[in-house]
């Protein structure tokens, strides 16, 4: 069946990409900057200790052997040990992941729903004031760096609402952080959803539907949205990079203990294994997400075959 063919192909491709990502990770961190790792932790250490460190981390072996060790480690779910805390990277990152996931998932979900609603309304009320106002405000928000927006929100909103601005390191302000990410994401989606809806609503079959006497609502829902979902799925998948970027910076601004903050702190403390582990996880999630989007697309579009 062509259906299984397609699914199989996509999964295979995803697996291949995962492999490439893993290798890239290795190349980046080990091959190109081997000595950076050894130059890290303690500067006052004796040469023997440094040699010991190198041996510990396997840096004294050939690259190929290191690569195989690396793959072997990964197969066992071992991402290495944090240089700062001596804990395994997985134990270090797990709580951060637990913190970030719900925020991102919720944020993405709401912004998709809101984006679609706003997109549909503006496409419907094309040419009216609602459309134009939405378009310009959307364009404006779209151009704002999210961390800046986050800072602004703290500055003006928190101050106005009487929330403690001095507590900028307070994780509960993460709500405001969410708000700014969501807001920018909504407008980004609306910027993408709108053209998708418009294009769909200009198709011939919409005219046919209108000729058949269907109500506006039925046309939008059954013919318009159902078709516009296809490019929307693609666009959401493509915007994942932006979501990650936004999350990292927002977490940094609000000191929200998630993966993003972990990454930033890892840089400051030169904790490369954490950085490597986090980068790998992020890349893997993008790949998985894209796979899900592909499969969803397959489910939605009967035209897709091999």
């Amino acid at each position: 069946m062509t259906g299984f063919d397609y699914v199989g192909k996509r999964v295979l491709f995803a697996a291949l990409t995962v492999f490439v990502a893993i290798t890239l990770n290795f190349v980046l961190f080990r091959t190109l900057s081997g000595d950076a790792l050894s130059a890290l932790r303690c500067r006052q250490c004796t040469p023997q200790f440094k040699a010991y460190q190198r041996h510990e981390l396997g840096l004294d072996k050939s690259k190929w052997v290191q690569y195989r060790m690396y793959l072997n480690d990964l197969a066992h779910g071992n991402l290495g040990k944090s240089l700062r805390s001596e804990q395994s990277v997985t134990t270090e990152l797990w709580p951060s992941i637990k913190n970030t996931m719900p925020m991102v998932a919720l944020g993405t979900f709401f912004s998709i729903v809101l984006g679609i609603i706003v997109g549909v309304i503006t496409a419907w009320r094309r040419g009216t004031f609602v459309d134009r106002a939405g378009l310009y405000s959307g364009l404006g928000f779209y151009s704002m760096p999210p961390q800046w927006l986050g800072l602004l929100m703290v500055l003006f909103v928190a101050g106005a609402l009487g929330l403690p601005t001095s507590g900028i390191k307070d994780p509960t302000l993460g709500i405001l952080g969410d708000a700014s990410t969501w807001d920018v994401l909504v407008d980004r989606l609306r910027h993408m959803v709108l053209p998708a809806m418009l294009e769909t609503l200009g198709e011939d079959y919409v005219l046919t539907a209108r000729a058949k006497g269907l109500s506006n609502w039925a046309i939008v829902w059954r013919h318009g949205l159902r078709n516009a979902l296809l490019p929307i799925v693609t666009l959401v998948a493509l915007s994942l990079g932006y979501v990650i970027a936004g999350t990292i910076t927002i977490e940094y601004v609000f000191s929200y203990p998630g993966v993003g903050l972990a990454v930033v702190e890892a840089i400051d403390q030169r904790d490369y294994p954490i950085l490597q582990g986090a980068f790998l996880l992020l890349t893997l999630s993008v790949i998985v997400f894209n796979l899900v989007a592909d499969l969803l697309y397959f489910r939605l579009d009967p035209r897709v075959q091999t």
Binding site: Y205, L207, K212, R226
Partner: protein, 323 residues
């Protein structure tokens, strides 16, 4: 009283920058039950806009004037509210490029059944049965109803579009270029189908096209449109053998004759812009028989034969000359 009577239909489009395009300029014609009528002209002459106006399917930047009488009732009396109850149940349309008239993510059968369920003509089981009947009637195996549009060939999609148009047993069928982009064999089959439908069910057909041979094949009467208005109308025979407007004559002559020995004739120039007022005859720049009054006076559509009308000064002058 005719089944469908279009009286003095005008359509304007509001353009960006405040200008207005006068796309349809006073079109009138009448259609009887079971009649097959052709609306002919080159691209851009306003024929598609005319039939869209009849169904009230114009975009928001359009304005309409005139009357469209269906069994005596004016569909355009109050705009959308008077025309929408008649859509599909009384007048249905087969669009240009039926390839795209179908929603790609919905099954063909469901799309044909959609208007039936909407107007309460049939539900579920009955609807499915009707869909099967319709498909068979247009020459598509009934089991194809569960397939998607992309699984059909162009010709089959065209037929499916016709089946969809017939879903609610309309009285009038407007067919816009139903055979463009189809190969000759399929073309012939579709045309035969249309003729059969008109004969068997008393369906009145308006065939809109720029392709003369098919009009000649299918229609008894036709109107030729140019620059938004009808410049000649009459029985097919008369139009072919005794055209009373240079454009009609040139149109028919421009059709290459497979067995003829004459050269290929073409009409030089292009149609006039419709966003400006036209002075004199719109065909004047391209006409090979233009004279005096053609520059300044716009010809009116006048009766020239038993059942024929043309808008050309040649007819009035000739008449005067024979006095």
């Amino acid at each position: 009283m005719s089944l469908l009577q279009v009286e003095d239909l005008h359509v304007w489009f509001q353009l960006a920058g405040g200008r207005e395009l006068h796309a349809v300029q006073g079109v009138s014609f009448a259609l009887e039950k079971g009649e097959r009528f052709g609306l002919v002209g080159e691209s851009g002459c306003g024929k598609t806009t005319t039939i869209l106006a009849v169904m009230g399917l114009l975009p928001p930047n359009a304005s309409v004037a005139g009357r469209v009488l269906l069994d005596g009732e004016d569909l355009l009396a109050k705009g959308e509210s008077t025309v929408s109850p008649h859509r599909w149940v009384d007048i249905a349309m087969v669009f240009q490029g039926a390839m795209n008239a179908f929603n790609p993510v919905q099954r063909i059968g469901d799309q044909i059944a959609e208007p039936m369920e909407l107007y309460g003509i049939a539900e579920a089981q009955n609807a499915r049965r009707r869909v099967a009947e319709l498909l068979e009637r247009v020459g598509i195996p009934a089991d194809r109803a569960s397939r998607y549009p992309h699984e059909f060939s162009g010709g089959m999609r065209q037929r499916a579009a016709i089946a969809m148009a017939l879903a609610c047993n309309p009285k009038v069928l407007l067919a816009d270029e139903p055979t463009t982009a189809l190969d000759v064999m399929v073309q012939a089959q579709i045309l035969e189908l249309l003729v059969a439908l008109a004969n068997d069910f008393g369906l009145a057909l308006v065939l809109v096209t720029h392709d003369l041979p098919i009009v000649a094949q299918v229609c008894g009467r036709a109107a030729v449109m140019y620059a938004g208005e009808i410049i000649e109308a009459g029985p097919m025979d008369a139009l072919y053998h005794d055209p009373r407007h240079p454009y009609t004559r040139l149109l028919f002559a421009a059709t290459p004759d497979l067995y003829g020995s004459g050269g290929v004739i073409s009409i030089p120039g292009a149609p006039p812009r419709l966003d400006r007022a036209i002075v004199g005859c719109p065909f004047r720049p391209r006409c090979d028989s233009a004279f005096g009054p053609c520059d300044s006076i716009r010809p009116q559509l006048v009766r020239v034969g038993q059942d024929q009308a043309a808008a050309c000064h040649l007819n009035t002058v000739v008449r005067e000359a024979t006095v």
